[in-house]
Symmetry: C2
Subunit: 165 residues, 2 copies
Amino acid sequence: MAPADQASPRQAAPVLPDLGLVDALAQLSFLVYNTLAEIAREHDLSVVQTRLLGVLRDREPPMIVLGQHLGLDKSSISGLVDRAERRGLVTRTANAADRRSLNVTITDDGRELVERVGALFSEQLERHVATLAPEQRELLTRLAAQVVGADGDHREIDLHLSPGP
Amino acid sequence: MAPADQASPRQAAPVLPDLGLVDALAQLSFLVYNTLAEIAREHDLSVVQTRLLGVLRDREPPMIVLGQHLGLDKSSISGLVDRAERRGLVTRTANAADRRSLNVTITDDGRELVERVGALFSEQLERHVATLAPEQRELLTRLAAQVVGADGDHREIDLHLSPGP
DNA sequence: TATTGTTATACTCTATAACTATA
DNA sequence: TATAGTTATAGAGTATAACAATA
């Protein structure tokens, strides 16, 4: 490519679009969402399947609770778990306390898969923020956390990616 | 941070989760995405239908170009436009320069709808960042814009919501 | 009676492959 | 031949409604 003149991005100056808060947030979110969707797809997962596995990393909830975590109807969960189970990523297990209920458990394969996807997602996101200086990253983290923390009803994404310091 | 003591959120302090950058970004993005999805759904729109209308606000592209904007195969665009056209939100019009091609145009109804959804999305997002001080909002905007601007291939969300000052 | 989960049904969204009509 | 668009088909994902089993 290299259109040389016309718009000569000589070097560093990335020609930042002058966005308002709402547009900037919308575009950032879209970028992040697409990043996850793309990596998931490369592993034959949808975003919702990835979220399913993410939730199950540290829980073995009954179907109905899973539905609450993911914001889905129980009939949607049935199908979702069907497909994941068919692929050997999760299993349904009996619930000792209530015989109507079934717990959903991630398998070793499922765990391995979600960890791989999570790691790649994390790497890619790091690449996206690579132009930020350390203090800026720190700042962005705090601001994002504050906005998220101020929200009440909080659907799950829950890939808890950062291994933490 | 200042985690007060174990778990006594005396008052204002919203007990911010101590997230890493990646988790904070993921959760923020998820929050924003869900906000749009929910408002769209209340208007019988999916996120992709909303994006379709958003793109068409200032363009009348041929189907194939629409597919490039939205990152979809031409067959997916056919169906998408079919359903939107059936609802009277867009129309297909002849392309003078190439008789194989059809331009897609938003209707007045479509425009009205996407503007309503965009306004509500904007309001809701403003509510989400309401806990930020003006300088923080300014900062978040700049940081988000910088991350977005550093990205190359940029799929469209394009609701250009902020009427701008 | 109420709740947990499944199934039947219907619709959107997506892609691949085969097709038509232009170019 | 190559490109723009449609259609047929297949599958995921979603919800509503009706159902069975259990509480």
